[in-house]
Each structure stands twice: as C-alpha cells, then as structure tokens.
C-alpha cells in the first residue's frame, strides 16, 4: 500500500506547489493538507512542511504555526517515528516546535533560524549544501551517498542558525548537523555560508533521525530548467539536482 505524504499548508505558505510536484515526480503519493483540515493529518504516513511565511511570521518566523493544531498531529506523528521534512519556513517551524534538534521539551526551542548576518537582509542566492552525517543517521538521507552535494536556492531573511555555545556543542556532539553550506566543488569553509549561520549549518535533524529541517530550497533547483548551469539540448523537465533529497525521502518512506 502506498505511503501517503501530507504537504502542510498554513496561511502564508507559498512553496507548496513545487514541493508537491517534486514529491509526485519522485514517486511520492503526496497531498496538500490545509491547516483547516488538520484532523485528516493522523491518516498520513509522513509530513512535509514547505517554505513561505506561515502566519506572516508574526511574533517570530514559525512561532505561531508551531503552536497550530495541525502541529499537534505532526508532533504526535513525529514522536511515533513518522518522517517529517521541513524546508525554509517549514524548518523554522520545526525548530520553534522543538522537534529539531529536539534537545529540549516540545515547543520550547533550543535553537532558531533567525536574522541573517552580517546584515539582517533577505538573502536570495544559489547555494550548495553538503551532507555532513553518515547517510544512515537520518532516514530521509539514507539513500544518499556519503558527502552528497545538493544544489538549492536560499531565500530567507531569517536563515542563520543561532543558539548559545552549549547548545551548539550539543548539536555537534549529537550529530544533529545534517547539512552544511559548501562551495560548488564540495569544499567547506567559513565563507560557504551565505548568512553567517552558526557552524555553517544549513540543515538539522533530531536525535532519532526521522525529522529534517533544511533552510535552503532543494525543490527550487530540482528540474533541469531550474539549474543556473543548464545547457541548450538538456531535458529541461528532467528531475535532477535537489530532487535527490526528495527521492531519498520517498524511498525512506517506502521502507517504513
């Protein structure tokens, strides 16, 4: 029986269509679920939280959505081991909900994706993120080769990971840093991050490895026509680049 994926839509979510389409193109049985239909969420096997500005980022990015009824179901599912993947604003929601890195109680965040540095401006640029863990550490990345480099677009005003020194150490010690920013050749250094994210973090996972929060958008660099280096003659509608992560997500779901 096919595993069903809910793509959650809050008021202000704006990346649900490309997220849904990519999940379909990767073989996923994905459906949009609006916040007002939260009661249907328990019947799904996995959840994807797309990017946008849920509830206009009132109070803080992701703060209101993290307390929405829909997130009650996501939290309950995640605690039972369901896969949860948050992208950009979805990642911010997962951190506000305390699901990622999950080093504190639920809904009491221990880290945040917050205002970019060095200047608190919106940053929209092409980036590469590199898998920084053993792929098997996270179910969602399990089908990726070690050190996979994924192209993506970052588009946010609040994508810089911040936490106090002890919490950052906890992220390193617990192997929570799933993705770091990298240069196109795969090298990693302090200049690879577009926003001064702490430890160069682009994506975090929880302790059990069933929840991934990723700030850049791989779904916006997932068909050939999205790629900055596309060439005449390429199959523009072929899935590629960022699609590998979604394929790995769908494969992980099939294994559950």
């Amino acid at each position: 029986m096919s595993r069903r994926i809910a793509v959650l839509v809050f008021p202000g979510t704006n990346s649900e269509d490309e997220t849904l389409r990519l999940l379909h193109d990767c073989g996923g049985d994905a459906h949009l679920v609006h916040w007002s239909r939260a009661k249907t969420l328990p019947s799904f096997d996995a959840y994807v939280l797309p990017g946008g500005f849920a509830y206009e980022d009132r109070i803080r990015a992701g703060a209101i959505a993290a307390h929405d009824t829909a997130m009650d179901h996501v939290i309950a599912g995640a605690q039972r081991g369901k896969l949860v993947f948050g992208i950009c604003n979805g990642a911010q929601i997962l951190l506000e909900a305390g699901l990622v890195p999950g080093t504190g109680p639920v809904r009491l965040p221990t880290a945040a994706f917050t205002r970019n540095g060095p200047v608190a401006h919106f940053v929209c640029t092409h980036v590469h993120v590199k898998l920084n863990i053993d792929p098997a550490r996270c179910a969602i990345t399990a089908a990726l080769p070690r050190g996979t480099l994924i192209p993506a677009w970052t588009a946010n005003g609040e994508g810089r990971l911040a936490a106090d020194a002890a919490r950052l150490q906890e992220l390193q010690d617990g192997n929570h840093i799933a993705f770091v920013y990298a240069h196109p050749d795969g090298s990693v250094d302090d200049t690879a991050s577009p926003n001064q994210s702490a430890l160069g973090v682009a994506g975090l996972i929880n302790h059990n490895g069933n929840i991934l929060a990723l700030m850049p958008h791989p779904e916006r660099d997932a068909w050939t026509f999205n790629h900055p280096d596309k060439r005449r003659g390429d199959d523009m509608l072929a899935t590629s680049g960022g699609a590998v992560l979604f394929r790995s997500f769908v494969e992980a779901l099939a294994r559950t």
Partner: protein, 133 residues
C-alpha cells in the same frame, strides 16, 4: 538627561497582537487583551515633548497614519508588559498583556506567556517589570 523609552503602537488594528492573543488562549494562558509596541530607548533623551517630536519626525519609526507614540514613565516595562530583546537592546518589542480589560496581567501570566510563546530563549531574552500595579 537620562535614558528614556518610548512605545510606538499601531493605532490601526494590530493583526500580530491579535494572533498572539488567540495563540496564548489556545495555550491555556488566559489573557483578555494583547498590545504590541516597538520600544525605542534613547540615551540622553530630551524632555517629553521634544522626545515625542523627535520620534514623530523619524519616518523609519513613525507613520502618523498608523502609529501613536507614548513616552514611558520609566526606562522599563510597564505593568503587564514584557520586553523581548534580540540583537538590539535599544529596540525591544513590548508585549503588554491584560487579564481583564484595563487590568495588566500578573507577573506569573507574563512569565508563562514569555516562556511558552513570546520569547525564544535561544535567541532572545525577556525583561519583566520591576513591580506590578
């Protein structure tokens, strides 16, 4: 001259404050009203009217069609108010909570609201009133 604080509020409906109110109630924090202010602290501030005039001349802070300015009696949160500071200690966001119309929230209620919603301790800190009326 000393440090003084002004609160800049929306005089049109504040959707963010309303959303905070609804969310706090959903969390079981029983508040009757929420007001949100941009707090701006001025070192070596002039007397009250000159301070108001200076704020009203700053288009990055004040729009006469949307905002009202209140000079605070002290450089500290008012009764029922918590200031949330992120990067800039001179520009906190003030959340003023009421447990009934016109009755400021208790410190206990404020603390709950800050811990459970208004303040992310990973990146922010909450400043509470020194005393409550």
């Amino acid at each position: 001259m000393s440090t003084r604080a002004v609160a800049i509020n929306l005089k049109i409906p504040d959707n963010a404050a309303y959303t905070a109110l609804v969310t706090l109630r959903r969390l079981g924090i029983d508040v009757a009203g929420v007001e949100r202010s941009q707090i701006v602290r001025f070192a070596d501030a002039p007397e009250t009217q000159a301070l108001v005039t200076a704020v009203e001349k700053d288009e990055s802070l004040y729009n006469p069609n949307k905002h009202r300015v209140t000079v605070l009696e002290a450089d500290a949160p008012r009764a029922g108010e918590v200031w949330i500071v992120q990067d800039d200690a001179e520009r906190p966001v003030g959340w003023r909570l009421y447990r009934a119309p016109g009755v400021p929230a208790s410190l206990d209620l404020l603390t709950q609201a800050a811990e459970r919603l208004l303040c992310n301790p990973a990146i922010e800190r909450a400043i509470f009133p020194r005393s409550h009326g």
